[in-house]
Symmetry: C2
Subunit: 538 residues, 2 copies
């Protein structure tokens, strides 16, 4: 997150650069022409409560270091640090911070604002978790204001304590409340940073895509953004919200947590002040009990309550207030099924001969092998036939369905797919997260992804389309082929690749014919380990 | 730690680049011409035991992601992220990993090897903790092999369990044992990475300087390195080892930890398998008890045992085996006393007028104020007179003393001081860590430090001198004035600054006259917070 090799001296002094916000003055840095304000507090919150506005202050507050990121229950093993380089950061539940990158501090500039919502489900990650998220290059090249946000995650953001009293009515949506407060802060303050408060695009990947869709179903956020982009996340509720069970499980989790912390219901307030590590340990134990003894499944995220958060549109219906906002919707070719994540056969897919591919295809598809080969060749005549073994279906099918349904309901929606293969290991299909460096113009910093000339061109196309969309509500611009909106019947897909082209329903039959993968829990969860050993309490 | 903006495609495939080590094959990456092998396992270890060699393996192991860093007892608040940018990384006690940057994988190349020992006392930090530690630029510009090491810290590396049996004889030096094993690995394998196993320079800053000096007093390491550099650390044992009390305190700590974990002495082996978080919590409680109830002070680090580790040379005597090795010894002007760490007066030191400086000088030095002003003007005629208020004395005096004593004993020793002021906040004196980006040629990545032209020149001087020393055992080269060794009577100091010059005993009287600062515990400790709340157990 400090990636630029500088050629100019940075400005960062007691009184320069300084911006006056609604609550007080902030000073950031000016580096290579870009103003960066890191770790701006946008709200305050007591544990398990909705956030409140920050208190006004005198003088000038520092905003040149990133703020704390939210505590996680798990510590990742650095298993994908090469493909998806992380920037880990100190954690604290007081994490309501955002970061701003901008080219000008001029109230009249009114540049488009792009607000990044990080991935990691609703349980992990941060605004600075990935090197790809650094906003400097995007802001500088395209003269936009980039904002990224930390907010409460996991038990801290979404535990349903409502059974213990009216004061916890909103605990199950507290982390979503953080996001709304961040958007409110942006609405009220971003003009001072050269941004247009009436032209805000929210965009996010994976869990961040889910957050974008959730905000579109949260009336309190309606006035704070005008456009939305989802990347490899959000097209379905992933089987969480649309069961009546979800809230019950969260409530059961709350009961067990109190029990393990030896807090009687009448003393429930104590749960607001116990040490985080004790709360985390009790939570891990509660999850263990629910999942191993009671047959439930704990899945963090906001809870539809019919008022603050209305639930996923495919389960609870589209809202006109959101439908009028244009959306970009897409995913990547391999996601969690590509040859980085999935082991098939021996050796290297790009060195297999036709016979080997045939063998593996038969192993995977059985008697449908020939059909799948033909459907794949028809959809992707330019690709290695081996790639049919490694296609993502979950997110791709979800996006196609989301696009069709939204178009049918009247929402302007464009679909895309990121297909560029990385040179890593003689060719690695686009993994979950692979498009992010291209959206942020940071691909030259990702060892596993950078391809000279190709990467620069593709950044110009993708970041260019994203920015064009943020500016105008339509991603069409001169560097891309004509890109029509999705309709109820048909989904044109912009396929970003070495040669980017538009294909219409090119993989529809392929996706419909593809066998349903076995559900193996949250992808990547096998690579996480619990921060705490689980110690079941009887 | 992934800082290069690339212009070439990285090579990282199943069989390229691959190196055959003593135990098996490793594959790394080749980026912009530099071969990087990250996260090489150099040893294995059971908790509280000396490390052992890694088991040989078949096939090719991956070495393109950094390995786990050692667990810490504290989580830092990001208070100095702007001045000293950190790269936080997942922690695990199985942390015996090292990283290699090199320009060639040619056994006959025999390039100088520079082995970096990170700072953070003996209780925190890692080989990748700071952006400044990235070895790519140093390796590339100067054609040297750079290695950096993780090893066990704090309770995991230095708890004295010897009272519980012969099997724990070495637990108090286990982390030092890791360092020795790393050097052994380098000795046995670095030729395959283009390095000269008979020309190894160990260098480290702060705690890393302490580790360099400790290794010089560890006979098992004697054959594994030929030169040594200490930066702002190591000239004294910091009052730890040279009290008889240190070992007693560590042993008391062990007793309390067992007690808090409810492990009876006859079941002591259980302490090897309890969850890390339980061990950490018990350790925090033990430290609390010792420091608040028993008047002791817990300070992690190796323990002189008269055999494996012989103790600091100023307390336990110089060893001829080490004295023959040339050393660079130095520190920086402000360290923990500069105007980044120490608040004096109102406003900004570089905007004070003469009257304000006079006032603050009188407040600090009382009737010695005029003397101090004169001594400072004589030592630093080119500096702002206000700077006398912010001088480091602890490390500077320590280095001067160390140089004189070592020279007297016959050891070739050169002294240096890093004085460059940063442009941050209208001028910030060189802080603890400030010289590191200049040694590693990474100053253009540190926003608070980069000064166009000046930084490049100073990198050429400092990194150039370090490399010349690593090559030849003498830091003199054409870009610097003549740099004589220290003698028992006199210490010539290379002052690295906007204009680098050699000064002989220039600040000796100034340092002798400077009042002793009040000792306030480990600098920066006020900015750390305990991972766990301490819960005293009665």
């Amino acid at each position: 997150m400090y990636m630029q090799k500088m050629t100019e001296q940075v400005v960062c002094t007691y009184d320069d650069p300084v911006v006056e916000t609604k609550h007080g003055k902030l000073r950031g840095v000016k580096t290579q022409g870009t103003y960066i304000f890191r770790g701006i507090r946008y709200a305050e919150a007591k544990r398990f409560h909705f956030p409140t506005e920050v208190e006004p202050w005198e003088g000038v507050r520092e905003a040149f270091q990133f703020g704390h990121v939210c505590c996680e229950l798990n510590t990742p093993i650095p298993h994908d640090q090469y493909t998806v380089p992380h920037f880990f950061y100190p954690q604290n539940e007081n994490c309501q911070y955002l970061n701003v990158w901008t080219q000008r501090l001029d109230k009249t500039a009114k540049r488009p604002v792009m607000v990044w919502l990080h991935g990691g489900g609703w349980f992990s990650g941060s605004s600075v978790e990935l090197l790809a998220y650094d906003g400097e290059n995007l802001s500088k090249t395209d003269d936009v204001v980039v904002v990224s946000i930390n907010h409460r995650l996991n038990v801290l953001g979404y535990l349903d304590l409502s059974q213990y009293g009216e004061q916890y009515r909103d605990s199950a949506n507290a982390g979503l409340g953080d996001l709304v407060m961040a958007l409110k802060w942006i609405h009220e303050n971003i003009a001072q940073f050269g941004g247009d408060p009436e032209n805000v695009t929210i965009f996010g990947q994976s869990g961040g895509g889910g957050k974008v869709v959730a905000l579109m179903q949260t009336p309190a956020a309606d006035n704070y953004y005008q456009k939305a982009i989802i990347q490899s996340g959000g097209p379905t509720a992933q089987g969480r919200e649309n069961t009546e069970n979800a809230r019950k499980v969260s409530q059961r989790c709350a009961q067990l947590i109190l029990q393990y912390l030896r807090i009687a219901p009448e003393n429930v307030e104590q749960v607001e002040t116990v040490d985080w590590y004790d709360l985390a340990q009790a939570t891990m134990n509660a999850i263990w009990t629910i999942q191993n003894r009671e047959g439930g499944k704990v899945s963090w995220g906001p809870h539809p309550d019919g008022a603050y958060y209305l639930g996923h549109p495919l389960d609870y219906g589209w809202r006109q207030e959101s439908l009028s906002k244009p959306m970009l919707v897409g995913s990547v070719l391999g996601e969690f099924s590509g040859n980085f994540n999935q082991k098939i056969g021996d050796g290297i897919k790009n060195k297999w001969d036709a016979a080997a591919i045939d063998t593996y295809r038969k192993e995977k598809f059985g008697e449908k092998a020939d059909t799948m080969a033909k459907l794949f060749a028809s959809a992707y005549p330019d690709r290695n036939p081996a790639d049919v073994l490694f296609l993502d279906t979950g997110l791709r099918k979800g996006c196609l369905n989301f696009c069709r349904k939204r178009a049918q309901a009247g929402g302007p929606t464009w679909n895309w797919l990121f297909n560029l293969e990385s040179p890593f290991n003689y060719g690695t299909m686009a993994w979950h997260n692979a498009e992010e460096p291209y959206v942020f113009r940071n691909s030259a910093y990702i060892e596993a992804q950078y391809i000279p000339v190709v990467s620069e061109r593709l950044e110009d196309e993708m970041a260019g389309a994203w920015v064009q969309f943020a500016r105008t509500g339509d991603p069409n611009f001169e560097k891309l082929p004509q890109w029509p909106k999705a309709s109820a019947d048909s989904v044109p897909t912009m396929c970003f690749d070495e040669v980017t082209d538009l294909r219409v329903d090119h993989d529809r039959t392929l996706m419909e014919a593809y066998p349903q993968p076995e559900r193996k829990g949250f992808p990547g969860s096998g690579k996480m380990f619990a921060m705490f050993g689980v110690k079941p309490e009887e």
